[in-house]
């Protein structure tokens, strides 16, 4: 009987590895953009995989990637909630309660050009990282994790309409910051 139990464990563990480990880069990428810190992101990824394994029995396929990303997002949010609770006096980790971005204001006179400055990868990463949390999450899931609006809606726990407006707003903010950031002048291509 014990052998059977072991076989079952082996089988489950093997199936989980085969299904979940190929998405490690995707999970780590989202963790980096949500936590904004490499070491925090690594902790979150490990916690995500352990939690996913615990719930793997009740997992029904086939979309493993969005399932893992949903768990990762819960892990990160739980950590933010814990920090808020622990350091109530500090607003260091406070996320905005509503969707009004605290720093980013839609500029009245934006450097909007049909042409786009050339920006290198590091600058683009910083621009994305500078977006307020809900918009950052939506645009990373869309552009980098390559998910559909429906999948993003399920991960973020909001209606598809909200996902659509978040992505539209995220791109508008990004476009403004993009052209405002130092870089090659608009229209130059390398």
């Amino acid at each position: 009987m014990a052998d059977d139990a072991h076989d079952e464990h082996d089988d489950k563990a093997r199936r989980f590895r085969d299904a979940a480990l190929p998405h490690l880069d995707d999970v780590y990428t989202l963790a980096r953009y949500l936590m904004l810190d490499a070491a925090d992101a690594e902790d979150a990824v490990q916690e995500c995989y352990l939690r996913a394994l615990r719930h793997f029995d009740s997992y029904r396929g086939p979309a493993m990637k969005p399932w893992l990303l949903a768990i990762l997002r819960n892990v990160c949010n739980a950590e933010f909630a814990r920090r808020r609770k622990q350091a109530a006096s500090s607003d260091q980790f406070d996320e905005p309660a509503d969707e009004t971005p605290p720093i980013w204001q839609e500029p009245q006179l934006s450097p909007e050009s049909a042409l786009l400055r050339q920006q290198d990868g590091d600058t683009i990463r910083q621009l994305v990282a500078g977006l307020p949390p809900p918009f950052r999450e939506a645009i990373v899931l869309r552009e980098i994790n390559d998910l559909t609006y429906q999948e993003i809606a399920e991960i973020s726990g909001v209606p598809v309409g909200t996902v659509m407006s978040r992505i539209a707003r995220a791109r508008s903010m990004l476009r403004w910051a993009w052209n405002a950031a130092e870089g090659a002048p608009p229209g130059t291509l390398r």
Binding site: D10, Y28, Q46, N74, R171, L174
Partner: protein
């Protein structure tokens, strides 16, 4: 669509999230509006630049081995997080485990309930895509006739089921024809009905992600969808018809299937 509409539709177009009808509407507006055309072009360039910048991070090798070690070893022994010899950096998730275990469990169960019906949802998405394709000019019907005795034999040899073809004209649902469609790469019979201007596609196959006799209702991309199983066949009805009338359609079909000598 006009410029006072927000930009959401432009982004949905860029992301390939619009059905054919909406995509045409947005494209037609962009073609006649330089301001929106400029925005669309800028957003597309930005998207292309992001894709080219290859923003996906590679998990560092030490993280990969750390995660692999944390997962159960091949001996079958489950290593619990508490058994880690390496103490976790700071109190990062220790606090989480102690403080938020309950809410964590709730969150996980929410995630699971969302994804449990994934497979069926995937088929639903495919069915709606097939429905949208069928609405393109010239795609709706392979055999166009209101005669059920023409539609039914037409399917012979094309699909491995004999789909029930039920004439509901008297009930207000006009049989307009049949079509061979593909869902998930498999040929599927599709019987086409019409109510006023609304097309109803009824997809029928032996295994089409249903397996429950009760009728399940959902909305995908604004289309109403009903699926259920009957007599070993899976049925999917899709339409832009309102939910009440589509429900009525499903009732009529089910009643006709239950009646002796049906189809």
């Amino acid at each position: 669509m006009n410029c006072t509409d927000d930009e959401i539709m432009l982004h949905a177009l860029i992301d390939g999230e619009l059905d054919a009808g909406h995509a045409r509407t947005v494209e037609a507006h962009v073609a006649s509006c330089p301001a929106c055309a400029q925005k669309l072009s800028a957003f597309r360039s930005m998207r292309a630049a992001m894709a080219q910048a290859n923003l996906k991070e590679r998990a560092p090798a030490h993280l990969r081995s750390r995660v692999e070690q944390a997962l159960p070893a091949s001996s079958g022994r489950i290593i619990r997080p508490a058994q880690f010899s390496q103490p976790s950096r700071r109190t990062f998730f220790g606090g989480f485990a102690a403080g938020a275990a309950v809410s964590g469990a709730i969150a996980a169960s929410l995630v699971l309930s969302v994804f449990r019906t994934d497979q069926e949802q995937t088929v639903a998405d495919e069915i709606v895509s097939a429905h949208i394709r069928s609405l393109q000019p010239g795609h709706l019907m392979d055999v166009a006739t209101s005669d059920q005795h023409t539609v039914k034999p037409w399917f012979d040899g094309k699909v491995d089921v004999a789909p029930p073809v039920i004439d509901l004209t008297a009930e207000g649902f006009t049989l307009v024809g049949g079509r061979l469609d593909y869902v998930d790469g498999e040929p599927v019979a599709c019987v086409v009905y019409q109510r006023r201007k609304h097309i109803i596609n009824l997809f029928v196959a032996q295994r089409l992600g249903t397996g429950h006799a009760n009728v399940k209702a959902r909305t995908v991309q604004g289309y109403n969808v009903r699926n259920w199983s009957n007599q070993g066949l899976d049925f999917w009805a899709v339409s832009d018809l309102n939910p009440q009338e589509l429900g009525e359609f499903v009732q009529k079909i089910s009643a006709a299937l239950a009646a002796p000598g049906s189809s």
